[in-house]
Symmetry: D2
Subunit: 91 residues, 4 copies
């Protein structure tokens, strides 16, 4: 997870960007930044984390259903796993 | 959509409950209810709508992947449709 | 809650619209509508409910802080009540 | 922003924890972790960022309304600023 080298690189780039945003926010707080820019930076990190969640969920859906099921039991198990992840992590 | 009679009944029950909650909130506001109970009723409707969204999304996922794909093109089209819906409606 | 006749009218209009949207969704489901339009209607109701929550929260903030506090104790109690509501209902 | 040394310390601790979570996720991805634990880590970061947003918003509310307004104009300006921030950053 993620599965292809390209997907892995894309997801890692997103995570590194989030780390960089957190570091920048830390510096801003230490320098006593005002509330409005601080809230803006937090909202940007929140958006980046939501984007990361969607990207990883979509990659997993492609992985889960990208190959033919070996049986109906296998098919139903894949569906159950995916609906469970949706219920846990997406609203 | 939804697909089986049971699923359709479950989804309709949820929608009717939401309608009933909206009617109850309307009566409470007309009667001049306080802010805290009004916010609580709105939060309950929000939770019910999120639950409805998840139920319909999961039903569609079962429908989309519940039968073998007819070709790899068909398989990829199903995946693209599902990831598009996830991106549009779930965070 | 809400406090002025104009605010009360605005909030009631929003609630009636949400009820109307739920009734329209019920009819669409009974008529066997496809998944995409059903998800779109649910997302519209979700947006309307979030808008209603924001409107009521803002009205309450205006009500809570619109008049001078009678004492510092009164001021701190108002702040505690408002932060409690934010924590419960907004993310 | 944040205002008291204690608040500043609390907010900085939260931000550093988020940075640490991002670093841990980066290592997990590089090590080829499975999807379920990756999604769980992302959800934990999302929760931490939502908690940070709430903490900073509440601190700002305390700051904004913690002292008596100098005039009704001042009072209305504070309310307008706060409702604007709520609308931008909280749902």
């Amino acid at each position: 997870m993620p599965h292809s080298p390209e997907e892995k690189k894309r997801v890692l780039t997103r995570v590194r960007r989030i780390r960089g945003q957190a570091e920048a926010l830390e510096r801003a707080l230490e320098a006593g930044a005002d509330c409005a820019p601080v809230l803006q930076q937090i909202a940007a990190i929140r958006g980046a984390v939501n984007g990361l969640m969607s990207e990883v969920m979509e990659a997993h859906l492609r992985e889960t259903f990208g190959q033919p099921a070996t049986s109906d039991t296998d098919r139903q198990a894949r569906i159950a796993e995916m609906t469970g992840l949706l219920r846990s992590y997406l609203k």
